[in-house]
């Protein structure tokens, strides 16, 4: 379980998260929506301590992550996968090496078992035939599927997706959404998605949060948030997204 306890995050004088209180159940799939600049990325990045709360704290399975020293923090991050808007694959490594690097360096597992798991995950995201290719030889959609497989190969408890389809050409969005849906349905991993893909959200989310100005304005099942929003600003935001 992830618990936000009155979390405030600021950049200089700019208050970005203004007192977030939130409980995310283990294994749940949460979609976060909201206008640009509302603090969605910051909320995700607080979970793996890319940003530090100025006030309040985040607890993962009861453990405060702001109290961690560097060593423990690195250890904790091994269990928190992140998928970025711009993929951020390692360009000097092959697809397979992108998956095996961190587990073999950080988890001291045998080469063979890491490799086997990596290949299975590449099959899971339908890209096993590119195992020996380099990221630059892949399309954006393929790169993002590799990035998902890379995160999975660490066997995370939590996965954070920050606008995973926003940098993709339109014709590649669906293949990535399909893969994310499959992974979301098939695994027990706690997942948080920042995305504007409403259909995807309706399919896979247990819960949708609407974030605006650093505050959670709406929190409910997708059906409720999308079709019966309580807040005026949610209605207006959804109106803009759905044209």
């Amino acid at each position: 379980m992830i618990v936000f306890d009155n979390v405030h995050v600021s950049f200089g004088s700019l208050d970005v998260l203004k007192g977030i209180n939130l409980e995310i159940a283990s294994g749940s799939k949460t979609v976060i929506i909201g206008p640009s600049g509302s603090g969605k990325s910051t909320l995700l990045r607080t979970i793996n301590m890319f940003e530090r709360p100025k006030r309040g704290d985040v607890f993962i399975d009861g453990v405060s992550i702001s109290g961690m020293n560097k060593r423990v923090l690195c250890q904790a991050r091994q269990d928190i996968g992140m998928v970025f808007q711009n993929f951020n694959l390692y360009p000097h490594k092959t697809v397979l090496e992108n998956l095996t690097l961190a587990p073999s360096v950080l988890k001291h597992e045998s080469k063979a078992s890491v490799r086997e798991r990596a290949l299975a995950n590449l099959r899971e995201v339908n890209i096993a035939d590119k195992a020996d290719a380099y990221p630059s030889q892949l399309s954006g959609g393929q790169q993002q599927r590799v990035a998902i497989a890379r995160a999975l190969t660490m066997r995370p408890k939590i996965m954070l997706f920050d606008e995973p389809t926003s940098a993709l050409d339109p014709e590649m969005i669906q293949e990535v959404l399909d893969i994310m849906e499959r992974v979301a349905v098939e695994t027990e991993i706690t997942m948080l998605f920042v995305t504007h893909e409403m259909k995807f959200a309706e399919h896979i989310a247990d819960r949708v949060l609407f974030l605006d100005g650093g505050i959670i304005l709406e929190d409910g099942a997708p059906e409720q948030v999308f079709h019966h929003p309580r807040n005026e600003r949610t209605t207006s935001f959804l109106g803009k997204i759905l044209h």
Partner: protein, 223 residues
């Protein structure tokens, strides 16, 4: 034929070729050692420059400003004439290696620093998100990419270092330029001596330059 390039002068030079071969080898040796220490200095200072500690940054910047903005020949003179007065006695080769490495290292640090900065920030984030520490991220993810970016300019610095090793002639370094100086002074034969000395430097530097140019072309193609 008479004059500076007379047949007699050429014959005289070639009959003493082994003297120059010794200088040539010594230039190679000093340059190679100098290059190794240059890379070490460049790597350490370049990585420190990526940090945030103000004291460390000021120290690195100070080192680089001093060594980039004074002539190498003066630095070498100081090691040769001032260090012994402070009780530090170094051989000519050690002074040569130290002098070249400290001087070229100041430039190498800049190269390493900009090469690391040129690696997109998302790479460090991806590495951190997987649980790599800063040092592990550097070793496995950032530096391998930075090396590709920094190799062509670093190779140019290697060429500079080799050519700059000629300033050791002023402290009787025994390397190629010193051989040229002393042999031509003794025999009063300058033409062939300096032409051939130039050719010998060219023999070392040109292949390295060509290699650098090829690397540069390749990295442009890979963007």
């Amino acid at each position: 034929m008479s004059g500076p390039f007379s047949l007699h002068n050429w014959q005289a030079w070639f009959s003493d070729w082994s003297y120059f071969a010794g200088g040539f080898l010594r230039t190679l040796y000093i340059s190679l050692l100098g290059l190794v220490f240059t890379l070490v200095i460049g790597l350490v200072v370049g990585i420190l420059l990526c940090g945030k500690n103000r004291g460390v940054l000021a120290l690195c910047r100070g080192y680089m400003s001093f060594f980039q903005n004074t002539p190498l020949v003066i630095q070498v003179f100081i090691y040769y004439n001032v260090l012994p007065k402070l009780g530090i006695r170094l051989g000519v080769i050690a002074i040569g290696v130290l002098g070249l490495a400290l001087y070229t290292g100041a430039y190498a640090a800049d190269i390493v620093h900009s090469a690391i900065k040129a690696v997109p920030t998302g790479q460090l984030e991806a590495a951190h998100s997987q649980g790599f520490s800063y040092l592990q991220s550097m070793i496995h993810i950032i530096l391998p990419q930075a090396i590709k970016i920094g190799l062509p300019p670093m190779t140019n610095q290697a060429v500079n270092l080799i050519k700059n090793s000629s300033v050791l002639a002023v402290i009787a370094g025994g390397e190629l330029m010193y051989c040229a100086d002393s042999w031509s002074g003794d025999n009063l034969i300058y033409g062939p001596t300096f032409v051939m000395t130039g050719v010998l430097y060219l023999c070392i530097c040109l292949p390295i330059s060509l290699f650098a140019r090829r690397m540069e072309k390749r990295s442009v193609r890979n963007v």
